[in-house]
């Protein structure tokens, strides 16, 4: 850290902490799900690419957890690995199991496009450390998005089993994908202070306008759907299983220094 974070009043600080937790948990959980492909991706090169992207996401989560830890005086690892499943605040889109390759491609496309919209807004945040981190993350996420788009097109153009599976996955994940833009508890404070330059509702509309023209030729008409109030609190058995996996090493030596 080169500069001390600007002074924040307690209400803004708590609201920012909530925002950072949602961002970090999104990146952390998708990173762990996608790392499940290591060793079994469709081809060797893709195995390396998917694993590397998954690592990138966990790297972003780390930077976000560290920023959060600095804000709240906690420990980044403790936040990442020390919570019960119900305390995670990732969007319900990321509660689904890994699924087949088409499901992974569909989810990565839905998430990367949503994340791109969100990061573009955060890169202009009035909270400078967050703006700088968002700008830095965007440099890698641009590539992640290109990769997801390449696969989406590839599967869609196959016109066979792969295209059917992709269409099914997009339709199944669509409602939960909206929840990336679920309203935050103290969002008004963040917007009023310029920490979140655009409300989630507006970011959601921007995202829908952007992805609909790409997804509907692939998956057919997609229903009007809105982010839910509890869109980041709907934990599934699939996530509880993943949580057991991703915390297993940390739990094996609680308090250990790695």
């Amino acid at each position: 850290m080169t500069t001390a974070p600007p002074e924040l009043d307690p209400t803004t600080r708590d609201a920012l902490a909530e925002l950072l937790l949602t961002l970090a948990d999104d990146e952390f959980v998708i990173g762990f799900w996608d790392s499940e492909w290591t060793g079994i991706a469709p081809m060797l090169e893709e195995d390396v690419a998917t694993s590397s992207i998954a690592q990138d996401e966990i790297g972003h989560a780390r930077a976000l957890y560290e920023m959060l830890a600095e804000l709240t005086g906690e420990d980044a690892d403790a936040i990442a690995y020390g919570r019960e499943p119900e305390a995670y605040r990732h969007a319900s889109l990321l509660d689904h199991e890994r699924g087949d390759w088409a499901a992974t491609v569909a989810r990565r496309y839905l998430y990367e496009t949503a994340d791109a919209v969100r990061l573009a807004a955060l890169a202009t945040s009035g909270h400078e450390p967050l703006a700088l981190l968002a700008a830095k993350m965007r440099r890698e996420e641009t590539y992640h998005l290109l990769h997801a788009e390449a696969w989406l097109r590839r599967l869609a153009d196959s016109r066979g089993d792969a295209a059917d599976r992709l269409a099914d996955a997009v339709r199944r994940l669509w409602p939960d994908a909206q929840d990336v833009f679920a309203p935050l508890l103290n969002e008004e404070t963040l917007v009023a202070r310029g920490v979140l330059p655009t409300p989630m509702r507006a970011l959601h509309a921007e995202w829908v306008a952007r992805v609909r023209p790409t997804l509907e030729p692939v998956a057919g008409d997609l229903p009007q759907s809105a982010p839910r109030l509890d869109g980041r609190e709907r934990r599934s058995d699939a996530f509880r299983w993943l949580h057991g996996e991703l915390t297993s090493v940390a739990r094996s030596g609680a308090g250990a220094t790695w």
Partner: protein, 103 residues
């Protein structure tokens, strides 16, 4: 049945820093240019070790591997700089320079 991604081979060249020569790094399998770019980036650039990559379809490379053209049977030593022995001339020049400096 879906078909496996084609195993088109792409040769990858990398430049470690701006201005360095492009050096052959290895190759990747990919069905098209787009994924070849992604895979080249992952294999030869994900650790920040490359400034630039060139990704070339192997079938776009013109190969010359004919020994008659590249390893002709006659002596070619006169085409190499080493074909001219300048060792003695160099020693004489050094001695002369040393003598002049000592004067």
């Amino acid at each position: 049945m879906t078909t496996a991604p084609s195993d088109r081979v792409w040769e990858v060249f990398r430049q470690e820093d701006e201005g360095d020569p492009m050096v052959h790094a290895g190759n990747v399998n990919a069905p098209d240019e787009e994924l070849a770019m992604h895979y080249a980036r992952e294999f030869y650039g994900r650790r920040g070790e490359s400034y630039r990559l060139w990704i070339v379809a192997r079938d776009a490379i013109t190969e010359l591997g004919d020994p008659d053209l590249l390893k002709p049977p006659f002596d070619r030593s006169h085409k190499k700089p080493g074909g001219y022995i300048i060792k003695h001339k160099l020693e004489a020049a050094k001695a002369r320079a040393a003598a002049e400096a000592g004067e």
